[in-house]
């Protein structure tokens, strides 16, 4: 079974390569597409350069992976040891995760100077949140009896964490790390875009600027291959360590009853205040230069006194939203839709799932220049990049969710000869909803990342471009304003989706909400 699937996988990969070459042959010298043969030739001619770049990128990605995951482990253990801190820590972690890397990158660059700092920091920022969510779920998911086992001896949460939860969450940690590995490479490459001197990102920028199609394709292929490889390697190590890998559903934390709006509002205000105080005090503690490290009050003053700045910001945000929202919805819709279709034809889903899992680890954004090269600087290119970025994780999550329909329920529908469509509608789709919403939430920061990076690298529009522009012209007031706006928008959107999720799951999958 696995063996035939493996052969299927190789065959479809070969077919894809052949198709790619044929298309490339049809459009020779098109300045858009280079076939696999051109890519291979380019790689052969530049082996030294490329291998140095891969080494540099992997080096930074590895350090970012380490720091990011260490942070995730510390945060999630804190949440387990101090359950009351969960909401605050989760929201702070989310806010930091929603920071637009496109803007934090240049600021970190000013802070660190030339070295590897920004690449490592961005790689860490790109990985910690998924690992954090996976670990919180994993650390919590132990049977009541196991936790009673430590309490019966009068031992506290620390003992429980050490003897039981830590080991029990290993499958979840590994699942999180597996997703984190390609993300670290992506983060490192975005860090390299901000003006590093070595790495795949540096070469990608250079190839784009000189319209070197062969090099662009070769670099994108290389980044994709390396990402798929690290994903595979971590999965392999994981399978040696634990017998049953976890399929993680990052369900939202349980809520006790319905919160009224005034209470939620109070909490939101408290959180915003906390973020602002942290922002201000971190900068003061590290004594960061006021010229580029703007404090909340600086931004407040800038935005309240400067009409022109406000309208620039508004225009950019509108432009960006007009691309983000359709791309986001299209990616989610296509991912869920295809998952449903594939499940109606089970043989197909068995073939597609491994391919989709491999493709998820491709750093889509680094192929943004290619897509824009092919489709031009209009809206379509950007929307497609956003959609593709979201499509694969959604497809995988939904396929896994659809498979989790309990066997007895399927048998019950079979016994009524209810037919596949009805089974889908009444049993499978409700079973898929938690997975769907989990990916809908995670897709929001991803969508913003895709949009801003594409605007920055390729289209020269929207808030991504505004960030890039203000970073080069040292207009840090505007840069920070853009960061605030994007972070707030992403966090808000995430929380809105979380509310919708809770409302819908309360009806369709109440056991998930109660956690």
């Amino acid at each position: 079974m696995t063996r035939t699937r493996g052969i299927h996988g190789w065959l479809s990969a070969l077919a894809a390569l052949a198709l790619w070459e044929i298309v490339a042959q049809i459009y020779p010298n098109s300045f858009v597409i280079a076939g696999p043969l051109d890519v291979l030739r380019h790689m052969a001619e530049n082996t030294g350069l490329l291998s140095r770049a891969v080494t540099a990128t992997l080096h930074n990605a590895a350090w970012g992976f380490l720091w990011g995951n260490l942070g995730a482990i510390i945060l999630s253990c804190t949440v387990i040891l101090l359950p009351r801190s969960e909401r605050t820590i989760s929201l702070l972690a989310l806010t930091v995760f929603c920071l637009p890397l496109v803007a934090t990158g240049p600021i970190l660059r000013v802070l660190y100077g030339p070295g590897n700092g920004p690449q490592i920091a961005l790689a860490a920022l790109a990985v910690y949140y998924t690992t954090y969510l996976a670990l919180v779920v994993g650390l919590r998911a132990i049977p009541q009896n196991w936790s009673d086992l430590t309490r019966i001896y009068g031992r506290g949460r620390m003992t429980e964490l050490f003897y039981i939860r830590a080991r029990a969450s290993l499958p979840y940690l590994i699942a999180g790390l597996q997703i984190a590995a390609p993300a670290a490479i992506l983060g490192a490459m975005i860090g390299e875009f901000t003006g590093a001197d070595r790495g795949l990102g540096v070469l990608t920028l250079r190839a784009m600027r000189s319209l070197d199609v062969d090099a662009t394709w070769a670099l994108a292929s290389l980044a994709a291959t390396v990402s798929i490889l690290v994903y595979g390697i971590i999965g392999w190590i994981g399978r040696r360590l634990v017998a049953h890998p976890a399929s993680i559903l990052m369900t939202p934390p349980p809520v006790q009853g319905r919160e009224n709006w005034s209470r939620s509002l109070g909490k939101a205000v408290a959180l915003i205040a906390l973020v602002l105080v942290l922002w201000h005090s971190v900068m003061d503690i590290f004594d960061l230069n006021r010229f580029f490290a703007k404090r909340p009050l600086d931004i407040w003053r800038y935005l309240t006194t400067n009409d022109e700045a406000r309208s620039t910001l508004r225009t950019a945000l509108t432009e960006t939203s007009a691309l983000t929202v359709p791309g986001y919805l299209a990616g989610l819709g296509l991912g869920a839709g295809l998952a449903i279709l594939l499940t109606l034809v089970p043989a197909l889903s068995a073939t597609v799932l491994p391919a989709a899992i491999a493709l998820r680890s491709v750093p889509i954004i680094t192929t943004a220049p290619l897509i824009v090269l092919a489709l031009g600087r209009g809206a379509a290119g950007t929307i497609i990049i956003v959609a593709v970025m979201i499509f694969f994780p959604t497809l995988i999550a939904c396929l896994q969710g659809l498979r989790q329909t309990p066997g007895q329920i399927i048998d019950m529908f079979d016994s009524y000869a209810a037919g596949r469509l009805r089974l889908m509608r009444w049993a499978r789709i409700p079973a898929m909803l938690p997975a769907f919403f989990a990916s809908a939430r995670m897709a929001i920061p991803a969508a913003f990342l895709a949009v801003t990076t594409t605007e920055w690298l390729a289209t020269g529009k929207g808030i991504g471009n505004l960030m890039a522009l203000t970073a080069t012209t040292s207009n840090y007031n505007m840069l920070w304003s853009a960061i605030v706006v994007v972070t707030a928008a992403a966090t808000l959107a995430y929380l809105v989706v979380e509310r919708i999720e809770r409302a819908i799951l309360r009806v369709y999958a109440s056991e998930q909400v109660q956690g």
Partner: protein, 257 residues
């Protein structure tokens, strides 16, 4: 193994009751209970499913706080006893940690009770519960009955003053269960450990305990308090044994009706 007779602790419940939840979701699980369990005795709780037996056990263990009343064990609160590592509990399913070997699962009982680790003592107990040679196996490689033995061993390794057994043999087949019923109880009984046992089997209750409390449907209240003379009665299929079983069954039948 050290065998100090009468090392158990008496258990006293004064007006202990438990209500879960509030408002519409309110569940009256246990009606106010006054009980005195003598040190070194094994007491069985029997009653219809969902009547609150596990809740009583968990309150004695200090895992659940009573809504009213107090639990006293010897001169201490359950939580103080727990902090000394002087109480242990076996759950309905063995709850062994799948990543630990049998030996280290049992040794965990010592660690959690803050007692010095002692591999020889663990091995001796492994032999006593009939698992010789399986010390380095993981739970997944053992049968259900073997896992139950291991869970009981984990319970007893710390030489507690009080053991709480919540349907410890619930998940094994009848034949294995009969064997475990004969082989395991002496391990705590001979050491004079106080034990509270929840079971659905009348025979098991009569076989293992000095005293049987029959509980009413929720909220649990004691409807019959039957003493079993362990020096004469627990020989299955004798008229005496059958008579006690009938008493318990009658009491159960009365509450179920």
């Amino acid at each position: 193994m050290r065998c100090s007779p009468m090392s158990g602790a008496a258990v006293e419940l004064n007006g202990v009751s438990k209500v879960f939840g509030t408002g519409d979701a309110k569940v009256d699980a246990v009606a106010p209970l006054d009980l005195m369990l003598k040190a070194g005795q094994t007491t069985a709780l029997v009653g219809p499913s969902g009547c609150g037996k596990s809740t009583v056990l968990r309150m004695i263990a200090g895992l659940e706080d009573p809504t009213t009343g107090t639990v006293q064990i010897g001169t201490e609160t359950p939580k103080a006893l727990a902090r000394r590592g002087a109480v242990s509990m076996a759950f309905q399913d063995p709850s062994l940690l799948p990543w630990r070997t049998l030996h280290s699962n049992i040794a965990l009982g010592l660690k959690l009770a803050r007692k010095p680790s002692n591999p020889d003592q663990v091995n001796a107990l492994i032999d006593l519960v009939g698992l010789s040679g399986f010390g380095d196996r993981r739970p997944a490689e053992l049968s259900g009955g073997m896992r139950q033995r291991a869970a009981i061993a984990r319970c007893l390794i710390s030489e507690p003053e009080l053991v709480l057994l919540d349907e410890p043999f619930g998940a094994v087949d009848a034949i294995t269960r009969n064997r475990l019923n004969l082989e395991l109880p002496p391990l705590w009984r001979d050491r004079g450990t106080t034990a509270v046992l929840v079971t659905h089997s009348v025979q098991e209750a009569v076989l293992l305990s000095d005293r049987i409390l029959v509980l009413s449907p929720r909220p649990a209240a004691v409807v019959a308090d039957i003493t079993v003379d362990q020096t004469t009665i627990p020989v299955p299929n004798t008229p005496d044994f059958q008579r006690v079983c009938d008493d318990v069954s009658d009491a159960l039948g009365a509450v179920a009706a």
